[in-house]
């Protein structure tokens, strides 16, 4: 039963340019199935032989080395282990196995609002928070004005925190985290902090800190735009492992792809088992990450059990915008009768904008009745990212590069 636990040590070595080093980090949680909230339940469970928990492996061997001055984005789907990793880095959770070395002082900002007390005033909370982060009153005295100024809460600091709006509380907590003079900043899901004006300010701060080579930032985010904008490096975590460690662009694209693949449609109304169409296979011949210069190419094959003429219908579905980008079919070349059929579908992408695309394929008969609809797990997903950025406004709004029209000025 006795196993060697992991270690986390904090050092202060200015000569070493590694800020964080993580080796072979493992962490699992015992998720209670029948929560033993009390002694009675615990004893009862023990007697009747219920273990009372299920072991959930959250981190499965994370290796990570972060250099000083890096701005690292950590992305991953919900439940991939990002937050657990962050909490272990911040020393809140204990590493089960593996070693962590933190070089410098670490300021965490985890789950909005770092332990504020609603009954204390804003000012008192700043000092309490500072003490929790390891600063003396004198050090906080020096930071105080800057914190309040950044949070834009000068008029409220002598009010009790319970009278702050939730946005104001978060602003204050965030200001403490970023104005505290730490070497390593660990931020979890903070980009939705405050109103638009405050967000602009945060963006400016991030851009500034990105250039500061003495500060290291680790940012967990679901916003790929911010990962691209701020991070110098990004890490994709999947099932508690480092899946990709590379440029923000690569990681952001893979993350979008991963999410897109998980998008489920509810249109499969005809199960394949009852259909006269069997073995519908869609085999992508093109890459799942494409630009406007590439084309999509699919090898579609199926077998027809009865003597029915069939054709293939293909839809490119834009997952983010929730609309079809292209509908196409082979009705003009009906496949006749029963037997094995095989077709190649291809299209170029010159007129499409950046999109996460799911390709839906269905087989229909000559009177347009759907015979089978390819199930989601059989539908290829791909990410289109234009390399030419034709128009910054069009890029993020329209699915298709519309002709925007032109103005002829008659009177100026």
């Amino acid at each position: 039963m006795k196993t060697k636990t992991g270690t986390r040590q904090v050092i202060q070595n200015p000569n070493n340019d590694i800020a964080i080093s993580v080796t072979k980090l493992y962490k699992s949680f015992k998720l209670p199935t029948e929560r033993a909230y009390g002694v009675k339940q615990a004893i009862f469970n023990r007697i009747i032989g219920i273990k009372g928990y299920k072991k959930q492996n959250v981190l499965n061997g994370i290796d990570l080395e972060i250099k000083k001055g890096e701005f690292v984005g950590i992305v991953g789907r919900n439940g991939s282990g990002k937050s657990t990793l962050l909490k272990i880095l911040a020393g809140i959770y204990y590493p089960e196995k593996g070693n962590i070395t933190i070089n410098g002082s670490l300021i965490p900002f985890i789950e909005l609002g770092v332990g504020f007390n609603p009954e204390l005033t804003g000012r008192e909370n700043v000092y309490l928070n500072g003490a929790l982060l390891g600063f003396s009153n004198k050090e906080i005295d020096e930071m105080y004005d800057e914190i309040v100024e950044f949070a834009e809460l000068e008029d409220f600091m002598d009010q009790k925190l319970k009278n702050f709006s939730s946005g104001m509380q978060v602003r204050l907590a965030f200001s403490i985290a970023i104005k505290a003079e730490g070497d390593i900043l660990v931020l979890d899901e903070v980009l939705a902090v405050g109103d638009e004006a405050f967000q602009v300010k945060c963006n400016q701060f991030f851009n500034k800190i990105k250039k500061d080579k003495s500060k290291t930032v680790i940012l967990v985010s679901h916003s790929m735009a911010s990962v691209r904008q701020f991070c110098s490096r990004a890490i994709l975590i999947r099932n508690g492992r480092v899946e990709i460690d590379g440029t923000p662009e690569d990681v952001a694209n893979s993350y979008s792809l991963e999410n897109a693949q998980n998008f489920r449609s509810s249109t499969s109304d005809i199960p394949e088992s009852k259909s006269i169409i069997k073995d519908l296979k869609i085999n992508p011949l093109s890459s799942d990450q494409v630009t406007q210069k590439d084309s999509i190419k699919l090898d579609i094959s199926y077998s027809v059990q009865e003597n029915v003429d069939t054709f293939v219908a293909v839809t490119l579905w834009d997952i983010m915008r929730g609309q079809p980008l292209l509908n196409s079919n082979s009705k003009s070349h009906l496949c006749s009768g029963s037997g094995q059929k095989s077709l190649i579908f291809s299209t170029n992408l010159t007129e499409l904008n950046d999109a996460n695309i799911r390709v839906y394929v269905s087989i229909k008969n000559s009177v347009d009745e759907t015979l089978v609809f390819a199930p989601d797990e059989n539908s290829p997903t791909l990410i289109l990212r234009r390399s030419d950025y034709p128009d910054a406004n069009n890029k993020t709004t329209n699915a298709v590069l519309f002709n925007r029209g032109s103005f002829k000025i008659n009177k100026d």
Partner: protein
């Protein structure tokens, strides 16, 4: 982790801030505010005094019995306040523990500090009452802090042990409430130990082996009247005499080790 690291500068600052917060919040929203720290034990004393000294006529043979009683109830309040607050501390501060990494024992110690401050203020009241009541100050008063320390160390030991268990099994809070009720009658606070000696000297000896009883009797002995029966008087064997003190020290060490081992997982379990 040696004592110097446990109370390094960072941790001392945090301890001070958390204590200040606890202290501020305790009486917030009440009209009389901090006065309650004095009024509550005095009122409790008044009730016990009317019931036990006036109606049941306890302690007729003890000089300065009202102060003697006040001293006992104050020390008892200190013990119960310390432990009750301390056991709850980890749960009360749960959202801090889930968000920031800091030494958890500081939360426990800071939560007991309010009780320490209250006790010290009440001690001042006792001393004033004692002098009014005709007790003459003596050198033996200098021994009182030792007994207070013993009582505090005992409270800390219980708090560390039960507080750590309470994170996972919240029943501890309820169980401890009952234990406190039972202990109250097992310690000679409202009744003089002489009443027990009359019935069964052995029972009296067992009662005075309880560190709480031993400490409170010592405080009364040194502060109010040398007539107080103490563990040292009633028990002959030296090893039995120091048994309560050894118990207290061993409990604190074991409890602190247990707390340290468990505190790694508080953030996950709370």
């Amino acid at each position: 982790m040696g004592i110097p690291r446990v109370f390094n500068k960072k941790n001392r600052i945090l301890l001070a801030e958390l204590t200040k917060t606890d202290f501020k919040l305790r009486y917030q929203g009440s009209v009389l505010g901090y006065l309650w720290a004095l009024l509550r034990p005095l009122m409790m004393f008044a009730i016990l005094y009317i019931v036990f000294a006036k109606l049941l006529r306890f302690g007729n043979n003890i000089p300065h019995y009202p102060v003697y009683l006040l001293c006992g109830t104050t020390m008892w309040s200190f013990f119960t306040e310390c432990t009750s607050q301390g056991i709850q501390a980890m749960v009360v501060r749960g959202d801090l523990i889930r968000k920031i990494s800091f030494p958890k024992y500081i939360v426990v110690i800071s939560s007991t500090f309010t009780a320490v401050i209250n006790m010290l203020i009440n001690l001042l009241v006792i001393i004033i009452f004692a002098i009014i009541n005709g007790v003459t100050p003596s050198l033996s008063w200098l021994l009182v802090p030792l007994s207070l320390l013993e009582l505090y160390v005992l409270s800390l030991g219980i708090t560390f042990l039960l507080g750590a268990i309470n994170v996972k099994y919240r029943d501890i809070t309820a169980i401890w409430d009952v234990c406190i009720q039972a202990l109250f009658y097992a310690v000679p606070i409202i009744y003089p130990i002489s009443m027990v000696i009359e019935v069964s000297p052995l029972a009296a000896k067992i009662i005075l082996l309880n560190p709480i009883a031993q400490a409170i009797q010592d405080i009364r002995h040194n502060l109010i009247t040398p007539m107080t029966t103490t563990t040292w008087e009633i028990i002959g064997n030296f090893w039995l005499q120091i048994l309560p003190i050894i118990l207290v020290i061993v409990l604190l060490i074991l409890a602190a080790l247990y707390f340290r081992k468990k505190s790694k997982f508080f953030a996950e379990e709370i």
